[in-house]
């Protein structure tokens, strides 16, 4: 009785269930933006949404190559001065013109954003002055030589000075001492489309927290008519329901379908798009005496011996992991960033050789191996715990007994940062798209003063490499920086200071006929989705 009643009811409602959107695009996202303020929280979930509405002076294309955005061209006047020519004829969503004043205001607002969980000040703190030479020319002065400046300001969204109530004259002052900002609206104000005014291809129409974000086409967009009349972005955080939403036709496209569901989606004739990402999954080891959770070594830390580290690296069958555990959606890694991105040397993947690994262990004085704990998150990277288990089994074959300690990401990162693991698996996405990012964060000597080695929870330290890296980081010339970064990267990898496992591949699934140019930075951006012809 119940079912007949239901099916009747359902049948009646079927017409209303599927809204037909003319020229509409609905995307199922795996996480939700925490705010509509593009300068509030530095989080990829937020950034990928904001980039539809707000733009930046420079842009990074799908392989993170830096190109013109709101600035049509720029030059390095000297080591610490950059001159940007702003694009003319660009309009904000409210019809006002984009000028140098908006640029200064946007950089000034960053330190004024309150309660930010992760502020954008890391990109603006090094700016000592911004001068508007005329309405469409802006000169930036930086504290130190920073070759990554054009790449980094891709993160500083340009907001409208008028819409946010700035005075007519906005002048820059370092560290939040700007003048003429007026009353700076805080993050919650950006739920209002009158405030969230950008220059991007889509305008904010409405934002219902937890439910959906609706964007509409901005017909006066400077770079041609955007493809979609309306874009709806819905956060569907659980994997199963997200796939179901695509199968049921609720959404046209989803990000990160679980790998095990991909064959089924293919069978149902959905289109799968994937691309190599800038995210490296790696093993990091503790390089100091007194590492915890190592047994059978009389209190010594075997990981301080490069032979042991090499043994670990060649005991891992990366091909097998990529094929069987990652379902082919990963590529074995030989360095920390996939070639041909800047700073990569094309170094070969360490070949799988368990016999040699055993010999190396014997040479290092551990013929019978030892026991240690491998820390890993179990909900952060694609199939992370399974990968760690596979690594553990491979290492067991050469005599290193591994206890896998898998925990949820929030726990794992806290424990890792408290140096609780002798060896751990984690991932790193290079936001700037070049080798300096992983080198600086993962293997540079940990130093609170200089901000180096922030995620170096193995406390690897190679002063020679640090020197080369620092030199690279202050070299403006791309070719020379490329060479220095290759050198630094090779020094670390020859020393087995860190063990790269694989590059994750990012996957999107969509209705047949749609197309998406996959991005290495893993962002899902409506502006890059093309409709069926």
């Amino acid at each position: 009785m119940k079912t007949t009643k239901l099916s009747l009811l359902a049948g009646l409602l079927a017409a209303g269930a599927m809204p037909v959107l003319a020229q509409g695009l609905a995307i199922g996202l795996k996480s939700e933006a925490t705010s509509m303020d593009p300068q509030f929280h530095q989080l990829s979930t937020n950034i990928q949404v904001h980039k539809n509405v707000f733009e930046t002076l420079t842009m990074q294309d799908s392989v993170q190559k830096v190109g013109p955005g709101l600035a049509s061209e720029w030059e390095a006047v000297d080591d610490t001065t950059w001159r940007f020519k702003l694009r003319e004829g660009v309009k904000f969503h409210d019809g006002s013109d984009f000028t140098a004043r908006d640029v200064i205001y946007s950089f000034c607002r960053v330190p004024k954003v309150e309660n930010s969980p992760s502020a954008f000040t890391i990109y603006t703190a090094g700016v000592t002055d911004i001068i508007a030479e005329d309405d469409h020319t802006v000169v930036f002065k930086t504290e130190k030589t920073n070759p990554l400046f054009p790449a980094e300001i891709w993160s500083v969204a340009i907001v409208s000075a008028d819409a946010l109530g700035a005075e007519d004259d906005v002048t820059f002052g370092p560290q939040g001492t700007c003048a003429g900002l007026g009353d700076v609206p805080q993050a919650p104000a950006f739920n209002d489309p009158e405030i969230a005014v950008g220059t991007g291809p889509y305008k904010l129409e409405s934002y219902t927290r937890g439910s959906e974000l609706v964007l509409s086409r901005f017909s006066d967009y400077w770079d041609g008519m955007p493809d979609w009349e309306r874009v709806i972005m819905r956060p569907i955080t659980s994997n199963g329901p997200r796939v179901a939403a695509l199968l049921a036709g609720d959404v046209d496209m989803i990000e990160s379908p679980p790998i095990q569901d991909i064959p089924r989606l293919r069978e149902a004739e959905f289109k799968i798009v994937d691309a190599l990402s800038n995210r490296i999954i790696y093993l990091h080891m503790r390089h100091e005496e007194g590492a915890p959770s190592i047994e059978g070594t009389d209190g010594n830390n075997p990981l301080m011996d490069p032979k042991v580290r090499e043994a670990i690296s060649i005991a891992i069958n990366r091909e097998a992991i990529a094929d069987r555990i990652m379902g082919g959606f990963a590529q074995p890694a030989g360095e920390l960033l996939p070639p041909p991105m800047l700073g990569t040397s094309g170094r070969a993947v360490d070949a799988y050789d368990p016999d040699r690994a055993k010999e190396l262990l014997a040479e290092a004085g551990y013929p019978d191996g030892f026991t240690m704990t491998l820390g890993t998150p179990n909900d952060r990277y694609v199939n992370d715990e399974q990968v760690a288990q596979a690594v553990a089994q491979m290492l067991a074959r050469v005599g290193i007994v591994i206890n896998v300690d898998a925990s949820t990401a929030s726990q794992f990162f806290s424990r890792r940062n408290a140096l609780e693991f002798p060896i751990y698996m984690a991932g790193w996405g290079a936001a700037s798209g070049e080798m300096s990012s992983p080198l600086k964060a993962l293997v540079a000597t940990w130093d609170q003063q200089t901000g180096m080695g922030t995620t170096n929870a193995g406390r690897y330290s190679n002063p020679e490499m640090d020197k080369v890296l620092l030199q690279a980081m202050s070299t403006i010339d791309d070719a020379e920086r490329d060479r220095l970064l290759q050198e630094a990267g090779t020094m670390v990898l020859d020393d087995y200071g860190i063990i790269p496992l694989h590059y994750e591949q990012t996957v999107w699934a969509m209705k047949p006929g749609f197309s998406y140019e996959p991005r290495v930075d893993q962002y899902t951006m409506a502006r890059e989705v093309k409709p069926a012809d």
Partner: protein, 325 residues
């Protein structure tokens, strides 16, 4: 009566205080929020600055003191993630959960009570057995699995209903609700059924057991002997007498549905409070987690308190025994 109320109120207050300590210490133990919140590109000094701004550099007892101090003034803290008062963020989500819980409750009562009476009147019939069998399924199938199955059948295979989300909402009594539009209603059906199934099974079993008991009572036999129609016997004499325990259960279950619709909300991407809790736990947004749990405790304690009071009003024996004891 006053003594009883005061004593009951004191007990409720004690429960709230105990929960505050438990919740705070528990949340404190699950990791450092800064490690999750901050961009991996941030330097050590950025991390230190953020830790200090959030007050996480202070010892636990001090953090708890600040929390309690603010809480008694009605301020449950500012969300780490959203930068807004935690309570506002939760209350923003309340209408969605409330709507879902009320519709689910209506479904479970509207179907559960008649089915339970039917099964109670004819326990040996095929229909009676089927109903009981069905209720066992409702009990024992995991909630999330039921949800996925509903999506699979009605959204993916048949394509009648959407797989998740809330759909179009309209304003009703100052709240955003979805049951007034066709689109909103179609989004509401599956999650409401999912949430209702377990409660419905509970009500069916409760009603059946009570019906079987009541049917054997002298007054029912007398009513029958008097020649009253079967319908009147059921609707008046039986129904009235079985409703007391059923109403008690409904009150309690409403509280738990409001607080713990988490699984359903997650499976159906329903933007309610439960989903907010899960998201907040993943992001270690401590103020929201604590505020949510405290609110939950308050709701359940209040409902219990009210139910106890109503009980004592309905049943003088409770009042008397409590007064003596």
């Amino acid at each position: 009566m006053i003594v009883y109320l005061v004593r009951r109120f004191g007990q409720s207050l004690l429960a709230v205080i105990a929960m505050a300590v438990l919740v705070f210490v528990g949340v404190y133990a699950i990791g450092n929020p800064v490690d999750v919140l901050i961009s991996p590109e941030a330097t050590q000094s950025d991390i230190a600055a953020t830790t200090e701004r959030l007050g996480l550099d202070k010892p636990l007892w001090q953090q708890f003191g600040i929390f309690v101090g603010n809480a008694v003034q009605g301020d449950l803290g500012t969300s780490f993630v959203y930068g807004r008062p935690a309570l506002n963020i939760i209350l923003e989500r309340l209408p969605a959960t409330l709507e879902l819980a009320v519709v689910a409750l209506m479904l479970s009562v509207g179907l559960g009570v008649p089915l339970g009476i039917w099964a109670g009147l004819r326990p040996e019939s095929i229909a009676g057995r089927t109903i009981m069998g069905g209720s066992i399924l409702g009990f024992s199938l995991p909630n999330f699995w039921q949800g996925m199955l509903l999506i699979l059948v009605f959204a993916v295979l048949l394509g009648w209903l959407p797989a998740g989300g809330r759909g179009e909402t309209t304003e009703f009594l100052g709240m955003q609700v979805s049951f007034l539009t066709l689109d909103g209603l179609s989004h509401l059906i599956l999650p409401a059924i999912n949430l209702a199934l377990f409660k419905m099974s509970l009500i069916i079993r409760l009603t059946r057991a009570n019906t079987r008991e009541v049917v054997l009572q002298d007054y029912v036999k007398f009513a029958r002997a008097k020649g009253l129609s079967g319908r009147r016997v059921v609707m008046v004499h039986i129904l009235k007498n079985i409703m007391i325990p059923v109403i008690t259960i409904i009150g309690l279950e409403l509280g738990s549905m409001l607080a713990f619709a988490i699984v359903t909300e997650t499976v159906f991407a329903w933007p309610g409070m439960g989903k907010l809790l899960i998201d907040s736990i993943n992001l270690l947004d401590r103020p929201v987690i604590v505020a949510y749990l405290m609110l939950t405790v308050l709701i359940i304690v209040t409902i219990n308190f009210v139910v106890d009071v109503i009980y004592s009003l309905l049943d003088p024996r409770i009042r008397l025994s409590e007064m003596r004891g």
